[in-house]
Symmetry: D3
Subunit: 340 residues, 6 copies
């Protein structure tokens, strides 16, 4: 017996300020507020699956930091590894689109946030990495600054040394890297050295790692060509991701893939509709992490994770809030539908 091991994430918390009812910002006098981030989302899902979770980040020591902390705690995530200090929280304003009108995201002072200006020396790694089974990093961190890259790599290395599973989500955003594509490759490759579980698609392989055969038209074929090579070259035993399919008939479809024990597997294809787009990918990733830690079969893991992703499209907010039972219900309805 002993204390349960915890799953951690090192990542930014952002304040999300959303115009209600499909209004443009100029049309509203009130905003809905919540706090999110890839790490928050991953841990929110995992805490609902019964895992002890804790976020490693830095938040300002003011009312905004208090608000973020209370929100994160309400999701079931421990805030005991959170540093308090610095000046700001990163923010984004969300104006929801409708049909041909796209959703619009406007960032406000991300680079100056407490997290993005934090120093690795401030974090008590000794304490924060104790009794930890997995730790999650998001690729966006690599694009912020030299210092943030250093922080991430340092912590990943340290975690690896301690036998903690290092989880990494490519989350490549070309805009953030601009012309520094070469630098992006270097940064990502430095990170991959420590990675045990990786979330990515064939596009990440092509754009960042410059792997894959662009002459193959079929997306599945591309995945089958490149994902095993990535696993092989960077010694990453588990790679997973989702494929969103063409919507010729106005319906959205998704399926998940998982490379594990040297073989590539696919989930069934699920239709989805979108109440909330942000965070759905994090529902997939966190579910694979859960499946691995619970030793689910590859098939179970894949169906569970893809259904979690589908379900995350149907709940408000970036952070997944559905239970295992709710996710399995989607899997089973699906299968029933398939049987007919």
């Amino acid at each position: 017996m002993g204390v349960e091991n915890s799953i951690k994430a090192f990542g930014e918390v952002m304040m999300r300020l959303e115009a209600p009812d499909y209004l443009k910002l100029e049309q509203t006098r009130e905003l809905k507020v919540l706090y999110s981030g890839t790490g928050v989302n991953i841990l929110s899902a995992l805490s609902r699956f019964g895992h002890a979770t804790s976020l490693i980040t830095k938040l300002p020591n003011n009312s905004i930091g208090d608000g973020a902390t209370a929100y994160i705690r309400s999701l079931g995530i421990s805030t005991s590894d959170i540093l308090r200090g610095g000046d700001y929280i990163g923010m984004y304003f969300l104006e929801r689109g409708f049909h041909v009108r796209s959703s619009k995201v406007t960032y406000s002072n991300r680079k100056e946030s407490s997290f993005c200006t934090s120093n690795i020396a401030e974090y008590d790694l000794e304490k924060s990495l104790k009794q930890t089974s997995m730790i999650h990093f998001c690729g966006i961190i690599l694009s912020i600054s030299e210092q943030m890259r250093y922080n991430a790599l340092y912590m990943a290395k340290k975690a690896k040394q301690l036998g903690i599973k290092v989880v990494f989500d490519f989350n490549y955003r070309p805009k953030l890297w601009k012309e520094n594509k070469a630098q992006a490759k270097d940064c990502y490759e430095s990170m991959l050295e420590y990675v045990d579980i990786c979330f990515m698609t064939e596009k990440d392989a092509r754009y960042i790692l410059q792997m894959g055969d662009t002459e193959v038209a079929d997306r599945n074929q591309q995945i089958e060509n490149v994902i095993p090579s990535v696993s092989d070259r960077y010694q990453i035993p588990v790679i997973a991701g989702t494929i969103r399919e063409n919507e010729k008939d106005g319906r959205n479809r998704i399926r998940g893939f998982l490379y594990h024990h040297g073989s590539l597997n696919y989930s069934q294809t699920y239709e989805y509709q979108t109440l909330e787009r942000v965070g759905a990918g994090d529902a997939f990733s966190s579910s694979i992490m859960h499946g691995l830690s619970k030793n689910l079969s590859t098939e179970e893991m894949l169906e569970f994770a893809t259904a979690a992703c589908v379900l995350a499209h149907t709940t408000y907010g970036d952070s997944p809030v559905c239970s295992e039972a709710e996710i399995w219900a989607v899997v089973h309805n699906k299968e029933v539908e398939m049987e007919r």
Copy 2:
């Protein structure tokens, strides 16, 4: 005949994000949003008094800038002198206090705002200072950065040269200057060279200009000692301000003073209650500006301005939104009350 002259202000626009219903930020999932700033407030009042008004500032060229622009226009202020560009808008979060619990203001990235990083060369002064009768500056601008000080002094000098009345509100905030009290004095004195109409109290004279006799206990006496000296030393013909009195019986009282044509005058004393504290001083200042431009008598001007200030405590939002008729009604009710 000709085009009416306009009153302008050079100043920052901030987004105000307010927790509703006396909640702390950590207790709310929605925020009320509006846009304000000393310049916005002054011009909002003046446009209600029938003046053409226009704000000179810089706002980001995104949805937030659009929101600010629409709001400012709704107040009756022209936005044709506003530059669009840069990255951010300054923001402040407001948690309203209740009784012994003070209101709490949390700033978010002011220094990096589009306005605070703007350069004087970007502004089309030729166009913006044409057909202008008065221009207003707020002392806070002097504390932001070397560049903002330069911008303000350059524009004030230019305005002075063009025969535009330069209006200046001390608005001294010790926190913003920290230990640089000496620098503050220099900066303020550089500004005062160009000033025609100045809003301040005896405290500003003492803390910034190091004038006034601190051994005099009585506040009125201090004002009578120091305000004429300030007028004299810096050649400022009009100086005005408000005095809030002790609230021993739990009631709040205020009166205004005005140094003009070489003599110091006081308004009657008004009781006030507070729905909104921010912006009440700007209601006073803008009313004095209105009175001067309309050649009201000193007495009328003072009563009008103090009543405007009292009334601004009773309306929501930083920016005054009452009409001349509403303000005169307060003056006249007051006098009736006084007569009894």
Copy 3:
């Protein structure tokens, strides 16, 4: 045994559109809506005291009329005597004041409303006045138009003939009569012919009926001089009203008076605070009506009615919504307080 007698009112229903949170109309993008009117208010209170009540009025046969009807029913008032037709409902916009800023009411097309353009011949008086013990009229109706005066007098006469107690509230609004003071007197006197129970103050006597000695400084003295004379001259056995007292110490006080069985009585004096000012007088009137119909003692009636009025200041909306028990609790707390 038999069917219970009902209390009726003939009067207008208005839609009230209110800016929330002390905002001015120009500051809000949402309005709170309810439906009220003197008749509605009177009957709302009486239905809570256990009386069957029914409103005689006319409402447009559209969604707005449906809204008004549903609201009135929710108050416990029967809508089976309501005609449907015509074009409009009268409306008023309410901007709540704060301290020195007065509340502002803006009317919108009252004169053209379905009720104000209705014709007496449309009403099924046979049916509407059956099994009715009392019927209430509000003086405002006399100011609207020749036709409305005719309607009111015709119905009052008819009711009187049927042995129904006619209740009349002066509700004199000088603005509505403008210079036609003489006409007002005639109209009111025509009405008083039929009245059994009348709500008024010494001011109504002075301004409309030109009775009372204006040289008497004391208000109580004026009431004692004039109310018995009014009762005598117009043969009205019951006259009642409220007196709001000077607020020198910032506290509001009220007491009720009742002339009944030839003697004038006063309630104790109650302090009150105001969440909602409109409709408080209707709480007093309806409570006197209740007391008379239940044969309460003069003293009980007066305390109950004044406490009802005090309590009506503390509930949202024009229409009284408190129970007998809640009102008696105010009376008894009052007395306890008095005993100390």
Copy 4:
């Protein structure tokens, strides 16, 4: 160089009161409020495209007029040509439908509004028509009263004389004319004398002008037959409109047509979904006005205007609030979709 020419509209402002969340009026205790009208909508769009715009109308000189004015200003429209006086604003209540339940609009006192009872002599045409490039009229004005027809025709004639382009939108509403179809024809023809740019469809030609061959089954054919004839008979160089197509598969489609330089052109067909139905036609019209004033090619103008119309279905409120960039994005996504 010189002062930029302005685009104006002469038309009514209405207050829109909307039940939220698909509720019926009887189900709600709060309403959303905004101000709109064809003229407001046209100018809102044009001000976003960079034009100086100003509305010529009359609003009551009370809080409601203040609310309307603030709202119109927030859209970017100058209110300096607005008269203040009269008693009312026209209003409409909106209950949004859902699927088979239609939206329901209930008007309240339109005929008595400040605008609809205004007299041409009150308007300072000298000032209001100075430095104006285009002026817009909506056909509804012709149905209100003899006086409003006179006002409109007088102003259109005056504008024509001053070389201002007169823009006219048929906006035919059979209900408003009832049996006076012959009168409608006369009124519309009197107006067409002055019109340079006209918005209409083949239905308007048939029902009002009694032109067109009703035996032709195909709508496109009808348009091709009748629009050139209208242009020819009434000497109107530019005629445009939109065609909504059958929705057999549950999808809505629209395309625009434009008769210009003697030839009839069509935009591509766009699918649309509806967040807000009102005002979408005004987005089309204003975009054509913009295209003409900027000398866009016929093809560009048509695609831009139809995309603007599609986009206006996706934003809240009657008045278009999208930028040129947002509209072009819809055009270009469309083309991409088409290329596939």
Copy 5:
């Protein structure tokens, strides 16, 4: 002449507490509240069709009971037959689902409610069943407790004796009966003894009455086989219900059936979309009750009732709120669509 006969229902009122905007309960700090129940729903519809209606139930004598009463009255239902006493109201919390995420209903203390613990002796049947033409019972009442079954059967028997039409809706919920299927059959059969009009489907026949041939695949065939037998065996002259069809193309369809005068008829098939799922069946049932009481033809009744059901999916809240005119408009649009 005489007093109109009333339609009554004996049934529970529940408080519905709903998380807004598709939120989960854990995500919201506010809930929307209304009051409903099968009886409430039935009578709400019938009162809109012009019937006098009254609910027989028991509600606690506290603020919650007052709230329920006011709400029920606003729907047009008389509350004069409602007992007040006991401790609680039954409640249910509603979390609306989205796409694959199902709506979730969480009950809170139903069994202990004032109604569910009420005793038949408390009800004044003499008074409540006077001048009543029909009385409605819902099958759920049979599952609550021995006492509630007794109450329902007693009242149904009494009504039958008085010549009141007894209406019964199967509303079978397997969860509520758990393993007591045999008991369910007994209870339902005891009730059917008194029933004149019954709402059910072939499933109810199969699961409760153990009638019908499960080997027949086709649903229509099953209905045609079993409904006449039910009518015959239990001597119920009118049986009706709705059939929701497969949604292979993502569209929902429904049609109604009615067994009357010994023959089985079907309405046309209607497509529907869902704003609110609860209460739609009650719209069908109440419309059939209306049709029977107004002697509509079988065809009219069926189209009207099915359209009412379709329309009830499009209005907020459990209780139908549409008028006859609105329902006929759906019927007629339908037919037009069909004709094309």
Copy 6:
């Protein structure tokens, strides 16, 4: 070194459903929801003071339980000791009063709640009482049922045996005990056997313990007489409470007392105003618990706790949410005010 000791509470969580804006329940269609309870309140405050805290209770395993859990976590309280199961949560509806209209609380099924029907055997005391420094009980638990009394006494005894400080708040509510005053005394005395820190007043001593001299008029004198005796008789080293004073001038005042180390001390007297009445006493108690655990001086502890109580009146919700810094600010402002 080791893991920090935790403070625990054994108590009920209730859902609070509040009518907004001073509305009565019958006037509102929306309710504000939060979760509270004496234990929740105590631990909310303590977690803000830096203590690890955890609530021992039982909540239903449904969406309502999830909502309560998320809310409690957001306050900073661990939910790892919470059992999930049973059927209900206790609820109370809150209608806020205004001036003479009292606030009204309506309970809904408390006795049947998961907590109130829980059995001591379900709780894992081994785990829940490990590493615990203090545990808090509220006297209300003793009134619920024989079983709950047993649960509380068993757990208190167990805690005492483990050396955990047992904290007890009398919280005597005469209504809950009705005529069983004798039983109340027995129950409380059984509990006092284990208590180390007790919150009570002289009234509790008189009504429950039948101690104290009722002939002494002065309240302070009563406290001084009885509190030391209670401490002595029941061997309770620490007893504290608050005294609210007469409000003759309309102002509310409070002071705290603390019996510790054998002597009775008082805080200064603080004025307070009330945004929220519930939970203020819990702010006092939790602050004394904090002071004891941090070894503050008696004087510091008393000022801190009384100021915390004053401040809790000014924040929304039952649970204290202020920081140590905010509380000390009230103490120091107080003292400054005193110095003048």
